[in-house]
Symmetry: C2
Subunit: 123 residues, 2 copies
Amino acid sequence: MQHAYNVYEDRCPTRMVLDRLADKWAVLILDRLQDGPVRFNHIRRDIKGISQKVLSQTLRRLERDGLVSRSIFPTVPVTVEYALTPLGSTLTDTISALSHWAEKNMDAVLAAQHAYDQTRDAG
Amino acid sequence: MQHAYNVYEDRCPTRMVLDRLADKWAVLILDRLQDGPVRFNHIRRDIKGISQKVLSQTLRRLERDGLVSRSIFPTVPVTVEYALTPLGSTLTDTISALSHWAEKNMDAVLAAQHAYDQTRDAG
DNA sequence: CGGGATCCATATCGATACTG
DNA sequence: CAGTATCGATATGGATCCCG
């Protein structure tokens, strides 16, 4: 039989998974990892505005969810690399589609917002 | 020239757009609207666990962003239908890919979480 | 370098009450 | 039916300090 859950059900595992994916920082991080392993502070620098705490938390969650792997190299100081797991790789198309959509349609959204605000001001 | 912004820049329009899309409720609502116009309380019933306040707020944002249209029919009591705009329709493939991924890979994620928690308990 | 721990401001959400 | 307004709990995020 099929799953007893679907994404429309409350407090089901599927919803929990979606809850993780539908997170701005998670999307940005997964997107950033597409080209290969990246180190902690490298991600931190690339994704402007993310705090170290949030980056750390999000990476930990993605690791727990099996989407991202964490490799420690015993250099001095220590080197830590994050990379997509095979499972995480199956998400990249969707994730990058999302951020690319945002870039492509930014202008249309901005215009819509402006129009919406105009009608509100006038009304 | 291309846009001066990309999704990795802080406080840029692209990031704002992604911030809207990377929202669990927005994803669920857009997903629900794929099959045609739906009324407010219909969405509310279908998406288990969403409060009327959050549904209202999210719909308003999606409308402002030009992704969802709102049609009022002067029946008694009033009927309001929400539907995807043409712009919103360009998102449906990506959005449904996201929720479908969640449903398909739920088990793998759950297993990964379990394994992660095990190693943590043991260590 | 790669974080964990803590403190504090703010944002978010659920519940409730009220309206055209 | 389809909301808005308000209040209180809670979750989230930023800033800071510290450590191996």
